[in-house]
């Protein structure tokens, strides 16, 4: 077992993990605040990527330069994905705040099916090529056989976003309000926190991250179709739970553990059972730490 191979697998797993992390961050924030497994989150990711593709297509058609296309299309992706996130919350989840716990889950599954087929009908059932929005950096060329520049950007971006989010939640006023809402919604309301606005904000923020993830991943893979959100959603969900759902560093840690497991399982054992190892590890970790790697163990009140 050569060290270089190990190192390559490690870096590959790390970059895969950071892709998962980008999506898992939005997932875990939404969960933290309203305790909802948002199955439609993967679809927001997909819609973000599609919006970017459409806008980029128009702009390229109009003859804008590469950089302008990149900036405007990613902006559009973020705006519209956030708008979708906001609307979905208003239509499908907000009316169900007082409903039994599983009702919003079913509403989310329904929403996910709806959005997939909406894009399928309005756009296409085929795969579409996605332009690579991130250029190959020249200075990175000597190392690109180990880890590509796209992966590098994803890695760095995930780290930056995680730090920013942690800062936002720990030190800003809105972060405090978010934490208060997550802890006890009624109490937060009594203390003057506008709970509805905070929840909307969380959805917008989560969708923002999903859209960024969508554009980056699509650009790395070079193709999208209406179904890409499903797998991304499942992996993000797994990462978020693995790390301790509701915890921001937990989601990133969970995602990276998941990415590394998959990478090493493929590299040293077999990709046939890659997902089996990933899920088996998940089960094992949850047996010993029932609330995830960084999740706070809740003491049950009697």
């Amino acid at each position: 077992m050569s060290f270089e191979y190990f190192f390559e697998l490690f870096l590959g797993g790390l970059s895969r993990g950071s892709i998962y992390a980008l999506i898992a961050l939005g997932y875990t924030m939404v969960y933290g605040i309203i305790e909802l497994i948002n199955f439609a989150h993967g679809e927001i990711y997909m819609i973000g990527a599609f919006t970017a593709l459409i806008i980029a297509g128009i702009l390229t058609f109009l003859g804008l330069n590469h950089f302008a296309v990149f900036v405007i299309s990613i902006l559009a992706a973020v705006i519209w994905a956030s708008a979708y996130g906001f609307t979905i919350e208003k239509i499908a989840y907000k009316p169900l705040r007082k409903a039994p716990r599983l009702s919003p889950l079913i509403s989310a599954i329904g929403m996910s099916i709806f959005l997939q087929n909406y894009v399928l009908i309005a756009q296409t059932d085929k795969y579409l090529p996605f332009p690579s929005v991130i250029p190959e950096f020249e200075f990175w060329e000597p190392y690109s056989h180990i880890i590509g520049s796209v992966e590098l950007v994803i890695l760095v971006l995930t780290a930056v976003i995680m730090t920013a989010l942690t800062f936002l939640i720990k030190f800003t006023k809105i972060g405090k309000a978010m934490r208060a809402t997550a802890q006890d919604r009624t109490m937060a309301m009594l203390l003057g926190v506008s709970v509805n606005k905070i929840i909307s904000f969380t959805f917008i923020l989560g969708s923002f991250l999903a859209a960024v993830g969508g554009v980056l991943v699509a650009s790395q893979m070079g193709q999208i179709n209406f179904g890409i959100g499903f797998m991304a959603g499942i992996k993000a969900f797994t990462s978020a739970v693995l790390g301790g759902i509701g915890s921001i560093p937990g989601a990133v840690l969970g995602a990276i553990v998941l990415g590394l497991t998959e990478s090493f399982a493929t590299g040293y054992i077999s990709s046939d059972y890659q997902d089996v190892f990933a899920f088996a590890l998940l089960i094992l970790i949850l047996i010993f730490r029932p609330s995830g790697l960084l999740g706070r163990a809740t003491t049950q009140k009697v």
Binding site: G57, F61, L102, G110, Q123, Y273, I283, L286
Partner: protein
């Protein structure tokens, strides 16, 4: 006065919808041939849909919240729930179901087949209801047990030549064992942690079936699985469809009776007590470990039976039939029906399984309608179609 307010809200909603659907529904870019197709008419539709939806929504919302109706409407749900529990309404429901069941075979083999499928999902829904509805254990990998049942029959048939009727209890038993195997490690887990582990378990079972060619023939699946034995007669397609329909009907009735009895039994009440409060129920002398495992085992056993029936019905199985989406649909049946309500599960299974079949002509549009109706049903009846009202025991 109120109307003007509705109008204003609805116009905003309409404009928002136009904005929202703008890139995806209006613009279609063909990056290969470099053409852009502007479909402005779609914006109009989006706006109109947004307007109508918002108007109707506001109207109902207002009606529900107006002080005059407040008490009446909140009572109405309970009344509906109660009504479903009162003997006469319940009897009327079961009689109409019985009439429907009797009429279906005369409507041709296609109707019979899809009703058989619907009954399969009634059985699955009732099975999952034991874990999710009664015991409160959120389960996202239920299709795994369904797969275990189906593969048990298929493999027993290939290797040992065992027939349907013998495989039926064996399938249930093997699935129950899998239920306990899953149940043991997850005893401490709750809520969404339990959900992801069950999801993982479901995926593991499917992936193993996909990869282990020597054992399960991998993705090419197992074909030529025989239908149930019928006094040594060889049945043609049409007779097979009819016969399997009646077998499914009898099994459904048995499962309904079983779950109904379970609900009022000692075990059933222990499950429900555990759902409400684990610690309190433990203090009352309920063995949580045993009760949880019982819930998993019963629930899995029913899925196993359904799996055997499924294998006999389609005569061909492969791992593709037991994906996560399958588990999600079964869970939707339970929640849409109103957790814990048998009547609700029956209605929800009929709606969710028959709807896509009858919308078949709409092609791609059928799934969008399916998704939208799942959301709408939850919005208008958040507690499920039939809210379960507890039985009252009078001394």
């Amino acid at each position: 006065m109120i109307k003007a307010e509705y109008l204003k809200k609805s116009v905003i909603a309409a404009l928002w919808m136009v904005f929202l659907t703008f890139p995806i529904a209006v613009i279609k870019v063909n990056t290969i041939e470099n053409t852009i197709n502007w479909r402005w008419v779609n914006a109009l539709f989006a706006g109109a849909a947004g307007f109508l939806f918002s108007y109707i929504w506001n109207y109902f919302q207002d009606k529900k919240n107006s002080p005059k109706n407040k008490s009446a409407s909140s009572d109405r749900f309970v009344l509906l729930g109660n009504a479903a529990q009162t003997k006469s309404v319940k009897n009327a429901f079961y009689i109409s179901v019985a009439v429907l069941a009797a009429v279906v075979p005369f409507a041709g083999p296609y109707q019979t087949t899809i009703f058989t499928t619907a009954m399969l999902y009634i059985i699955l829904g009732l099975g999952l209801n034991i874990a999710v509805g009664m015991a409160g254990l959120l389960h996202l990998g239920y299709a795994a047990f369904y797969a275990v049942g189906a593969y048990t029959y298929a493999l027993l048939h290939i290797h040992l030549g065992i027939g349907f009727w013998l495989a039926l209890p064996i399938g249930g038993l093997v699935a129950a064992i899998f239920g306990i195997i899953l149940g043991l490690p997850v005893l401490r887990l709750k809520g969404d942690y339990l959900a992801i582990v069950t999801l993982g378990f479901g995926e593991i079972v499917r992936i193993v079936l996909e990869n282990w060619n020597e054992f399960s023939k991998g993705p090419s699946g197992i074909s030529e699985i025989p239908g149930p034995w019928f006094f040594g007669m060889k049945l043609n397609s049409y007779q097979h469809i009819m016969y399997i329909y009646y077998v499914a009907l009898i099994l459904t009735i048995l499962v309904i009776i079983f779950t109904n009895r379970l609900q009022s039994s000692r075990i059933g009440r222990a499950l429900m007590a555990m759902r409400e409060d684990e610690i309190a129920s433990e203090a009352m002398g309920i063995d949580i470990t045993k009760t949880k495992l019982t819930a998993f085992a019963f629930s899995a056993a029913i899925a196993g039976v359904a799996g055997v029936l499924f294998a006999a019905k389609t005569t061909f199985i492969n791992p593709q039939s037991f994906t996560f989406m399958e588990s999600a649909i079964i869970l939707s049946i339970v929640v849409l029906g109103g957790m814990g309500s048998i009547t609700g599960v029956i209605i929800a299974a009929l709606v969710l399984i028959l709807l896509p079949e009858y919308l078949r002509e709409l092609g791609n549009y059928r799934m969008i309608i399916f998704g939208a109706s799942m959301v709408l049903m939850m919005l208008f009846r958040p507690q499920g179609l039939i809210s379960n009202v507890r039985k009252i025991y009078k001394i």
